[in-house]
Amino acid sequence: MVQNYLAVLLFILVGLGVGVIAPLLGWILGPRRPDPQKNSPYECGFEAFEDARMRFDVRYYLVAILFILFDLEIAFLFPWAVVLKEVGLFGFVAMMIFLGILVVGFVYEWVKGALEWD
């Protein structure tokens, strides 16, 4: 079993390798003639006005936090789903109570407008 994971690890390394070697080849084969205009950030012909690392909408944070909550929920559901046949009705009802609590939170954020983008 552990040997199977060796192949997975090697595949990850190969994936990283492709990402490193391909640009390296391009860097060797391609020309290198930098100039200030070429290296300036793209801004439709203007000089760049200000730093690009600007402030952004707080709703992106909100989405990130909601994602963590729901993804955690999914992580809880995974083992439950695999053994649902064995745990039967009791396990099903238990998870429905848990899901119900999650849905209350989901409805709350929906009503509060956390999911609105206007």
Partner: protein
């Protein structure tokens, strides 16, 4: 020959043999990606009553190779003010998950690189890393378009990942296993394609394909690139091979999503009818079908607005998946699962 090599490499043999198998998977993958780009241009061309690329080689068949050589010979521009290390790390982090996920994809019952029990969990974990590549690329570029594209893309990908995750949970409920081989075997039966998950999980099948389109930033959910508003989004500053890597990752991800859809909802290598043998070709046929859907979507639908994308993800797909999860849970309970018709799928 085999034994001689085995002797030569000694204790390193398993690693070397695994590497050989990885190359056997990765090389055709790259070819598939190259010809998927050509297929896309051809299919969309014909849908718009054009011919598509037809100059390089017969029927334009050498076009992807010409594209690759061109990108290889182009200068890699690193913009002033960019964080150089992160700028080059971005493409690496987006291609790695797109390739590494193939480690656990079963092509036939025997033909799988590593048959691990947690394969679906591994796929979930590794594909989630793709978003880092996008965010890092967008942030490191020091360009406003790249930054906006990265923010949009990150929020969109994580939103649709939830719907995708719930869809996967129902698949697990049907198959009682995280192992992709077992997931396909659970769909096996005398009724052929009627026993595959796409019938009892039809809403989830639809949700999964939509979420997969959004996850790969494909049209109509391509606001992260949105060439008519933020020029190319997170990879606007990338050129030459660094751009090619992002391109490769997007198409490799499309092929991966199509493979996963085929395995989880359409029976993987299983033959649709009893009298034809199972085999890898069925998997490829199903993948081609899903890939064709992706191309068709792009040719047909106008781009969604960002608020529409977020509404679809949070207010339509997630409620649908939650409801269907409960429905499947109820149908799996003792008296119901044994009833005629239902016992085709719930066993």
């Amino acid at each position: 020959m085999m034994l001689m090599l085995q002797d030569f490499f000694g204790p390193f043999w398993p690693a070397v043999w695994a590497l050989v198998k990885i190359v056997v998977i990765v090389m055709p993958m790259m070819g598939a990606v190259a010809y998927l780009t050509l297929a896309e241009r051809k299919v969309i061309g014909y849908m718009q009553i054009r011919i598509g690329p037809n100059r390089v080689g017969p029927l334009g068949l050498l076009q992807p190779i010409a594209d690759a050589i061109k990108l290889l010979m182009k200068e890699i521009v690193v913009p002033a003010g960019a964080d150089k290390f992160l700028f080059l790390l971005g493409p690496v982090l987006s291609i790695m998950p797109a390739l590494a996920a193939w480690a656990v994809i079963p092509f036939t019952p025997e033909l799988v690189l590593s048959n691990v029990d947690a394969s679906l969990l591994y796929i979930m974990a590794i594909t989630s890393m793709g978003v880092y590549g996008v965010v890092i690329a967008g942030w490191a570029s020091n360009s406003k378009y790249a930054f906006l594209g990265a923010m949009r893309s990150a929020a969109q990908i994580v939103s649709y990942e939830i719907a995708m995750g719930f869809a996967l949970v129902t698949v697990l409920m049907m198959s009682h296993s995280l192992n992709l081989l077992e997931i396909v075997k659970a769909q096996q039966g005398p009724l052929g394609f009627l026993q595959w998950n796409w019938i009892p999980l039809f809403p989830m099948f639809v949700v999964y394909v939509i979420a997969g389109t959004a996850e790969t930033n494909r049209a109509p959910f391509d606001v992260a690139e949105g060439e008519s508003e933020i020029v190319a989004g997170f990879h606007v500053e990338y050129s030459g091979m660094t751009f090619a890597i992002f391109f490769l990752a997007e198409y490799a991800n499309m092929i991966l999503i199509s493979a996963l859809t085929s395995i989880m909802f359409m029976g993987g290598w299983l033959s649709p009818v009893g009298f034809l043998p199972d085999g890898m070709l069925w998997l490829f046929a199903k993948m081609s079908f899903v890939l064709f859907l992706f191309l068709w979507f792009r040719a047909t639908f106008p781009r969604y607005r960002y608020d529409q994308i977020m509404r679809l993800g949070w207010k339509v797909l997630i409620p649908v998946t939650l409801v269907w999860l409960v429905v499947v849970g109820i149908l799996m309970q003792e008296p119901l699962r044994g009833l005629p018709v239902l016992n085709i799928w719930f066993h």
